[in-house]
Symmetry: C2
Subunit: 341 residues, 2 copies
């Protein structure tokens, strides 16, 4: 993807955020009960634990911006895509609320996670409520494609949940194949991005070919993102990314580069270290990183990420949308995959 | 409601179950990933913890039977309501899976709860997956009222979640009003029963007046059920109901009879015992039950349940449906509220 001044990206994201935020706030207040709205508002970063508004919220609303671009791609207008933008962000936050419980994470973006503050029942219910609200926003929109968009969102949500389930089950398994791992990543990360990149078009009644090409674009962007994220989880630059070097290895995550190396020949030493239940020392973590690299996991993941980016570009070109919208899609996709290629 | 031979009820429920079960099994296999389907199948009672089929499943599928009756009320046929029957049962089981985690319950119907067997992450995800599948089943049905029925189901799901959230928040509060408690019960129990009693009609494109009257019928049945359930939670007959006498009092549940008595005059002794944080001894539990009765909570709840049953009858009569279908609705409703009036 071509490099453009950061100000272009900032402007695209600021426009998306400005168009989405009021409708997102409104949806949470309209659909959720006051108790659960408070938990959701805390989780998103709009309120502190006592319900007082915060002034520090810096959410980028990347997925909503993609949803708005997709409605512009279909009919030149952003407004019709707003319910799609809201719905996709509601689903994203539903997944974060539940993931934090499942992973036992106690902090997110420098604040205590919702379940730490409000308890597990409150956080489970707030997540459930956001997921239901996402469907309500779309179906109440009375848009031409409301039923189609809702079906697409439910399907993406189901895939995301399946991917998360596979990720959990991989923890117990030593025989995960690369194909399974790619499917898991596509489900966990690709499905919701595919939906984000097409949901606005779907909602305003765009033709199926456009919806499908935009979805395919988002699916490839999602896989590229996951590959980059997995690379950073092993060899990450802590200053730039907030991800600790080796973070994923310490918790023995079956990430894509690791699974690629485990499925290569000569993986006995790596398997011995990584699939045992003994705690990994810091030298072990370093050794695992080296073995994943020697086993070709790092190169494969980089190459695969580049292939996914190229495939994304192709899908976007085939969509035949206005140049301005295409460039903005590229900007946001470049931001998501970390401008690494 | 008139008393009819048990065999009539058995036949209505058996017909509903026979029509629903294959489609319900199919939906879980189609929409959920194998890992999460296995958890759902265990939870429902179709499989043991190792995934082996069980032969002891005795689920009555009461809500699906109501959904099928509602499509028959609309167009004389059961078949069109099957996706509605499946969807409502998926949402019901989603709520049970999450409730068991939130309540920390370790057994359900004599078996270990899903989170005890598969862990909290698996049970959260299986619940999430069932909720998404419910929307998918309706939207993929291509029925005339698919969008309308989906919106109704999402709204009922949202109300159910709100009610559960209110129930959780009541635990921390000593000033719950009877109006708040009735709203909570309507949301937690009434909304899904209202949806069950109307969703099949909605799905096959029935007119709004019929859908609304059937929904109102179900809402009243739901409130009557909750009142009876709350009475049994205090003065229940353990042999007949499986509910221990005083069970709700021991955990200081803010159930409807208790809240009615707490909001009556002369409730100081009751408030002193029930709203403190000291453990309740068995004599305390007995004393609380007496005080709730003296405070009028028992009589009020009985009378209110009778009023809700009468209101349900009125709504059903106003719906103007075929006598045979109306009688079957009455049979199932009578079963739900325990034939106590």
């Amino acid at each position: 993807m071509t490099t453009t001044p950061a100000s272009v990206l900032s402007s695209v994201l600021a426009t998306g955020r400005t168009a989405t935020e009021p409708a997102l706030r409104d949806a949470i207040q309209t659909y959720l009960s006051p108790e659960l709205a408070r938990i959701a508002q805390y989780h998103i970063g709009w309120a502190d634990a006592d319900g007082r508004p915060t002034s520090t919220w810096s959410g980028k609303l990347v997925r909503p911006t993609l949803a708005l671009l997709s409605s512009r791609a279909a009919n030149g207008e952003t407004a019709g895509g707003i319910p799609a933008a809201v719905a996709i962000e509601l689903v994203h936050n539903f997944s974060l609320l539940h993931d934090d419980i499942m992973d036992g994470d106690t902090s997110r973006r420098g604040r205590a996670t919702a379940w730490k503050v409000f308890g597990v029942p409150g956080a489970i219910l707030a997540g459930d409520a956001l997921a239901a609200a996402a469907g309500e926003v779309l179906l109440d929109s009375d848009a031409e494609g409301a039923a189609s968009a809702s079906a697409s969102l439910m399907n993406a949500t189901q895939r995301m949940i399946s991917g998360q389930g596979a990720d959990v089950s991989f923890e117990q398994r030593g025989d995960v194949t690369l194909a399974e791992c790619l499917q898991m990543a596509g489900d966990k990360t690709g499905a919701l991005l595919a939906c984000a990149c097409s949901l606005g078009a779907d909602l305003v009644g765009a033709d199926r070919a456009l919806v499908q090409r935009l979805a395919a674009f988002g699916e490839h962007v999602g896989l590229a993102f996951q590959l980059v994220d997995d690379l950073l989880g092993i060899w990450g630059e802590e200053d730039r990314t907030g991800k600790q070097v080796g973070a994923d290895l310490r918790v023995r995550k079956k990430s894509l580069p690791v699974v690629a190396a485990l499925n290569a020949s000569d993986s006995d030493e790596l398997a011995g270290l990584y699939l045992s239940s003994e705690p990994l020392s810091e030298p072990d973590v370093q050794r695992v990183a080296d073995l994943v690299e020697r086993g070709g996991g790092r190169d494969w993941a980089r190459d695969e990420a580049a292939r996914q980016v190229a495939a994304a570009e192709e899908c976007l070109a085939a969509a035949g949308i206005a140049d301005a919208v295409r460039h903005e899609f590229q900007e946001v996709a470049g931001f998501i995959v970390g401008r690494r290629f």
